[in-house]
């Protein structure tokens, strides 16, 4: 072997890589201690009884009517806000990407979506109370035009009101997630389909929607998970009157309203399962759509 050319080895841990391992250690220690461990602790606790022994009892008691209703309610709120958020978000994203609108509109709307998707929580609740509460801006406006919302049965502090409020961050999130997928739709597909005799409707049915549905579905699942885990907005708007799972868990953490700490763990497990599965499905669908839309 020539003395001039040393072979370059690629070992896992070498003396020079040791520094790198030390460099990333704090991050992993942090993740372990403050992301993974607390979650695992809860997960384990969900399968334990008071004495620390293994039990499936907690999970069974998740089935009791009040808790089951809580989960159903959460699923309803999340599903509804995800459905409409996805629908309206998709329409807006389509308008932005393919609507032939003036050039300055897209960056403005995208920036706004970035802001609005982060504008959740307590201030959002206040904003909607100021808009659609009994003395709210729109309520009064509609009243003057002859439409009494509250007499008709509407109330901002209900399921409908909460879902409507959730849309304020769901729709922008949908726009942000789905726009890249729409960008990936090549104009040439539409043109090629035309040349082969397809009408616009046929193009959408046979090419565009099949290509887009993983992205749309994935994004909807993301919205679902997003709504399921949200609490601050609900707390400030409907509080304990709408007993979604995060509210229930909050009350349990605060004051052990369930008189059973391990049940709280089970609640958390249930939440995690649902958000975890939704996110997992989202990631799988996104990978699939990226393969087509590259």
């Amino acid at each position: 072997m020539s003395a001039i050319a040393p072979t370059v080895a690629r070992p896992r841990i070498t003396l020079s890589n040791l520094g790198a391992w030390f460099g990333v250690a704090p991050f992993f220690i942090f993740a372990l201690m403050f992301l993974i461990a607390p979650t695992v602790y809860l997960l384990i606790g969900a399968f334990q009884n008071h004495d620390g022994g293994f039990t499936l009892d907690n999970l069974a008691r998740l089935g009791q009517p009040s808790i089951r209703n809580s989960y159903l309610l959460s699923i309803e709120v999340s599903f509804t806000s995800a459905l409409f958020g996805a629908l309206f978000g998709l329409c807006l994203a389509l308008a932005i990407v393919r609507g032939g609108l003036p050039g300055w509109l897209r960056p403005t709307l995208m920036t706004f979506s970035g802001v609005a998707s982060n504008f959740a929580g307590v201030p959002l609740a206040f904003a909607f109370i100021a808009t659609l509460g009994r003395m709210g801006f729109i309520t009064v406006l509609l009243n003057n035009l002859g439409l009494d919302l509250y007499a008709a049965g509407f109330n901002i502090f209900t399921f409908t009101g909460l879902t409507l409020t959730y849309l304020y961050f769901q729709i922008p999130l949908m726009i942000l997630v789905v726009t890249p997928a729409l960008d990936g739709m090549k104009r040439e597909w539409n043109e090629a389909a035309s040349m082969l005799g397809a009408s616009q409707a046929q193009y959408w049915r046979m090419v565009a929607l099949p290509v887009l549905w993983p992205s749309i579905l994935g994004a909807s699942l993301l919205l679902f998970a997003n709504a399921f885990g949200a609490i601050a907005t609900a707390y400030a708007l409907t509080g304990p009157s709408l007993n979604i799972v995060p509210i229930l868990l909050y009350a349990q953490i605060r004051g052990d309203v369930l008189h059973d700490p391990n049940l709280g763990y089970a609640l958390a497990l249930g939440m995690l399962l649902i958000t975890g599965l939704s996110n997992f499905a989202y990631i799988v669908l996104r990978a699939r759509s990226e393969r087509w839309l590259k």
């Binding site: 043109e191 040349m195 082969l196 005799g197 090419v207």
Partner: protein, 354 residues
């Protein structure tokens, strides 16, 4: 018999004229190439034939029928795009059969036609693959099969080879031409690559800045270019300035050398300047004999390219490029050497513009 006719076709976006007064007659089965630099209007014209753009003026006819206002999906024209544009959610077989499926053909009919097309492009083993699993060249061939499956009356290709590797480009263009000949389908091919245009076409339409510069067979375009643009766009060309001495005998003066042009000076007057063009391969090194033109100068550079030897000789102001074949018996001239070169009167191209 004229199959495709474009008459007075124009396209403007506001005040910007992108295609100006385009007239063309294409016979059935002909392979015509639109050739020109980016922005010359060739793709826009193609898209007007396809139906994606509406002409601002003029008419487009197929077999006498006016299709100018007809929607793209009703024209029965096949198109191949630069970016392949295969539908990613469908297999190769489904892609190729798409046009037939849209037309409502029966499944067995579609299947046999798809098999036929895949055999034609020699990719039957890929019928169940998805586009993302194919190479660029394979995708383009599938794209071709897809365009031809519904038996269109015209085939349009929009720079189909530009996105491919050089080697695949050459083999694919031969394949496209062979297929076109076999099927006898009238074809319009758009490219900016003059080698593709020359090697594939029955006729070439050279375009520049929205207008047609010249229409002709490859031999004609190459050897008898009408304008400076055409001459310089196709192949390497020497363009020299000459002073007209006697238009009747075709005598002109190039940097103090008296030479004769066989044609092109009919409308010239003594004392005018004209641009003349000379292909590098038309020039031979050595003193000319009877009837040949001679130029004198000094050898500036010699590049040995293997089978071709490229020599640059300086006249007074201009430099002349000369391409000669390698001759093992006669070594090329050396730099700094004085030399004479000769060429035939027929090879001197007098250009229409100055």
């Amino acid at each position: 018999m004229t199959f495709l006719n474009l008459a007075g076709v124009q396209k403007s976006y506001g005040a910007n004229a992108v295609v100006r007064n385009f007239d063309l007659d294409v016979t059935r089965g002909e392979f015509v190439t639109f050739l020109g630099p980016s922005g010359c209007g060739k793709t826009t014209t193609l898209r007007m034939i396809a139906g994606f753009e509406t002409p601002s003026a003029g008419e487009i006819r197929i077999e006498g029928r006016d299709i100018t206002g007809l929607r793209a999906n009703k024209r029965n024209i096949g198109m191949v795009f630069q970016a392949y544009a295969l539908f990613p959610n469908m297999t190769v077989a489904d892609n190729v059969g798409f046009g037939l499926k849209v037309a409502g053909r029966a499944a067995p009919e579609i299947k046999s036609r798809v098999d036929e097309m895949l055999e034609m492009i020699k990719l039957p083993h890929l019928r169940d693959r998805y586009p993302y699993q194919l190479s660029g060249g394979q995708q383009q061939r599938v794209s071709l099969a897809r365009a031809l499956a519904p038996s269109p009356q015209i085939l349009l290709l929009d720079e189909p080879l530009s996105a491919l590797d050089a080697r695949i480009r050459v083999s694919l263009r031969e394949e496209i031409r062979a297929l076109q000949r076999k099927l006898g389908i009238t074809t319009i091919f758009v490219t900016h690559d003059q080698e593709e245009a020359l090697s594939m076409s029955d006729r070439i339409v050279v375009m520049n800045d929205g207008a047609i510069e010249q229409i002709g067979a490859p031999f004609e375009i190459y050897n008898l270019p009408r304008t400076r643009f055409v001459a310089s766009f196709i192949g390497t060309l020497n363009v020299l300035d000459a002073a007209v001495i006697d238009p009747k005998s075709g005598t002109i003066d190039i940097e103090g050398n008296k030479v004769f042009a066989a044609r092109g000076l009919e409308n010239a007057r003594a004392g005018e300047t004209r641009a003349v063009a000379l292909r590098p391969e038309a020039v031979r090194i050595g003193p000319g004999g009877e009837g040949r033109n001679t130029l004198e100068g000094v050898i500036e550079d010699v590049v040995f390219l293997g089978s071709v030897v490229r020599v640059r000789m300086r006249l007074k102001q201009n430099a002349l490029l000369i391409d000669t074949f390698n001759d093992s018996a006669a070594p090329p001239p050396s730099r700094g050497q004085s030399a004479q070169v000769n060429f035939s009167r027929n090879d001197l191209i007098v250009l229409a513009d100055r």
